[in-house]
């Protein structure tokens, strides 16, 4: 169907289309050659090593234009020194920070992968790192490193000078025999330090800005199916119980702090039971540890729906990165996919893949966004390199539309959604977005049409209720008057009929006499 109204071009002549295609090809080839800046890889849209898709209303994967293209790889060759099992990546304004775990050091790279600084391999005992697995950089450029092997968190200043260490939390909540190995660390706007530590399942370990232990935050709840509970507690012998795995709360796999100091946390070892019970694989924690992630989408924020439907091949989230306007990108280890969601928890697009082609992951562990989301960096633990993905025109329009809508710029958002529709006329997201702006503008009829195309019943109902009110207000007076007139006419006719019958009777009577 051709819908010029929404900015989709009408059918053009064959030559015109061919010409446009040619121009687009040349342009994309040109931009791509500019994009491929690292290794001499020549890639085009057609042979991207992955598909980009989104989920439609019915939960089906629908292929769509790529939002991000694989643009190259930063590996030992570019850096000048090889990485060894790197575990974490942090992207700051114009720097990449890599936790080079196997080599017990932190590398600071330029955005192109040039080595700028190396931290943690000094001779001084205090600032020597041992298998650091987590890294965080504050707004002032201070570096927090989860020094896993030394059971501590280390802070460095912007020049890489050692400042302090935050050691094992002083508390009776952890038994003395319990190992304390911090793996991930973040610092929020108020300077509070949150740490994920291996083997500690009471939530995030929270320190205040002085480095004093404050408590645990955002512990996950244990969910046990009734069958398991009864079986375990009433029908098993002690010996059997000892051999069963203990049911413990799931641990967080990674954390990310956004610009509003809320903490995104991912969980990757959810059991099938947890998933069936509707457990969430990603959370957004406020400072009290309550999950405030919005889940207004048709489907839960759980990654691949296939895994949920068929009960196998679940996505397992290892890292998350969020934008300033609430969109977040989750990295999945199972299939090497990157899932993008908007601030309502609605799936935007999915791309990426594990495999052996260039641009496929082996074991992705960490994801980072450049400032304006124009690039996504993914760290691979096995290939010891950083993948770079460059945003496309389509992805730009899509994210801009959401950003502008979030900022309250309805007109700008409409413009962007129209651009999205030009590139992908199947986008339910764009129709819904467009409908929302029509709704605020008061074009209820058009809003309804858009929501129907976008399969958004909730908003359709809203638009429809306004539309119905409008129609009622227009026609109600007329309808009431028409009804009254009609009733009067009926009454009149009946009176006339009765009168004539009476006249007839009188005449009949008079004739008789």
């Amino acid at each position: 169907m051709v819908r010029t109204k929404y900015g989709i071009p009408e059918k053009r002549s064959v030559f015109c289309r061919l010409f446009r295609m040619l121009v687009r090809r040349v342009l994309s080839a040109f931009t791509l050659s500019a994009v491929v800046f690292l290794s001499n890889v020549s890639v085009s849209r057609a042979d991207m090593p992955y598909d980009t898709y989104s989920y439609n209303y019915w939960g089906e994967e629908v292929k769509e234009p790529h939002s991000y293209l694989y643009a190259g790889m930063i590996s030992g060759k570019e850096i000048g020194t090889n990485l060894s099992y790197p575990a974490d990546l942090f992207v700051a304004e114009d720097r990449l920070y890599v936790a080079d775990t196997g080599n017990s050091r932190i590398l600071i790279l330029s955005m192109d992968g040039m080595l700028l600084k190396e931290i943690g391999s000094g001779k001084d005992a205090a600032d020597t790192l041992k298998n650091p697995q987590g890294i965080f950089v504050t707004g002032e450029g201070h570096l927090y490193v989860a020094d896993t092997g030394n059971s501590r968190v280390v802070e460095y200043d912007e020049n890489g000078n050692y400042i302090r260490e935050i050691g094992r939390p002083v508390t009776t909540l952890i038994s003395d025999g319990q190992e304390y190995s911090p793996t991930k660390v973040v610092v929020d706007g108020a300077g509070r330090i949150y740490v994920i530590a291996y083997g500690i399942n009471m939530g995030l370990v929270e320190f205040n800005s002085e480095g004093e232990f404050q408590g645990f935050m955002g512990a996950t709840q244990v969910s046990v199916s009734m069958f398991t509970y009864i079986w375990k507690n009433y029908f098993s012998t002690q010996a059997q119980q000892d051999r069963m795995e203990t049911i413990i709360p799931t641990e967080y796999s990674n954390i990310f702090v956004d610009n509003e100091s809320f903490i995104y946390a991912t969980i990757n070892n959810l059991s099938a039971e947890d998933r069936a019970a509707g457990a969430d694989a990603v959370r957004r924690l406020n400072p009290t540890g309550t999950d405030i992630l919005r889940r207004l989408g048709q489907y839960p924020v759980i990654g691949d729906l296939e895994g949920v439907t068929f009960g196998w091949n679940y996505s397992s989230f290892v890292d998350v990165a969020a934008t300033d306007y609430g969109c977040y990108f989750i990295l999945d280890e199972t299939d090497g996919k990157i899932f993008a969601y908007d601030y309502d928890g609605i799936s935007l697009f999915v791309f990426g893949r594990n495999g052996i082609r260039e641009g496929n992951f082996q074991k992705p562990v960490s994801i980072g966004l450049s400032d304006d989301e124009s690039r996504i960096y993914v760290l691979d633990n096995t290939l010891n390199s950083i993948y770079v993905f460059e945003i496309t025109e389509y992805g730009r329009h899509l994210l801009d539309a959401i950003r502008l809508n979030h900022m309250g710029d309805a007109q700008g958002s409409t413009r962007e959604w129209q651009e999205v529709l030009k590139l992908n006329s199947n986008s339910e997201l764009a129709y819904t977005g467009l409908g929302k702006t029509y709704l605020t503008e008061g074009n209820y009829k058009e809003a309804m049409e858009c929501f129907e195309l976008g399969n958004s019943k909730k908003y359709y109902s809203k638009a429809f209720s306004y539309y119905r009110k409008e129609v009622m207000e227009t026609y109600l007076t007329g309808a009431v008057i028409a009804l009254v007139v009609l009733l009067f006419v009926i009454w009149l006719i009946r009176r006339i009929v009765r009168f004539r019958r009476w006249v007839g009777e009188v005449r009949c009577y008079m004739q008789k006499n």
Binding site: W58, E452, K457, K458, Y460, S461, K462, F464, S465, R468
Partner: protein, 206 residues
């Protein structure tokens, strides 16, 4: 009596099920042709509902709805129930002939037409918040039909309440058995066809 009057009699049946179904059979106030008219209308209503309900209340994917399948499903259930009911009741001293059963069940389907057909139009005037009305009326139509089928069975076969409940359960079981045997038969036949055609090919190619 006229066909039209037999159609009109359905309004008495749905509001006075006990009396209505009794007279339907003893006084010959209904007819098989009227009953089959209601069956056709029911099929039409359900098809219409699938295709033409407003976007808000339509959970079907219009592009993938196959009306023929739905028509056959409804007819199959109707015929299966009647046949299974006849099979059970003829073993359990039921007084109804198969003709009576078909007639009664056809009349019992009327609430579906009466409620669900207007609902299709009403769905265009309702928002999601008012959807509860839609749901309730939809549910009511099925409940009413179920009660009518029950009463129809009771009156046609002159059963007591307990015996009717028992018969209805046996009938549902019977429907399952008929389906099972049907599928089995279908499978066996297709196996035989394959077998014969294989032999034929074998012989031809030698």
């Amino acid at each position: 009596m006229l066909y039209a009057e037999k159609l009109k009699y359905v309004f008495y049946v749905i509001f006075h099920p006990a009396d209505g179904f009794w007279d339907l059979k003893r006084e010959n106030r209904g007819s098989l042709s009227a009953s089959l008219t209601f069956v056709v209308l029911t099929v039409f209503t359900l098809g219409m509902e699938k295709l033409n309900t407003a976007f808000l209340f339509n959970n079907n994917r219009i592009s993938e709805v196959n009306v023929l399948v739905d028509v056959i499903t409804v007819l199959l259930v109707f015929v299966l129930w009647c046949v299974a009911n006849w099979c059970t009741t003829s073993l359990m001293d039921g007084k109804g002939r198969i003709r009576d059963i078909f007639t009664a069940i056809g009349y019992a389907l009327f609430p579906i037409i009466l409620i669900r057909l207007p609902l299709v139009f009403a769905s265009f005037c309702l928002t999601a918040e008012e959807g509860a009305f839609y749901e309730i009326f939809g549910f009511l139509s099925y409940l009413w039909t179920a009660v009518l089928i029950f009463m129809g069975t009771m009156m046609t076969h002159e059963y007591s309440l307990g015996k009717t409940i028992f018969t209805c359960m046996i009938t549902i079981l019977g429907m399952g058995i008929i389906l099972f045997i049907g599928l089995l038969f279908f499978n066996v036949i297709s196996e035989i066809i394959v077998f014969v055609s294989t032999i034929y090919k074998e012989v031809r190619f030698r």
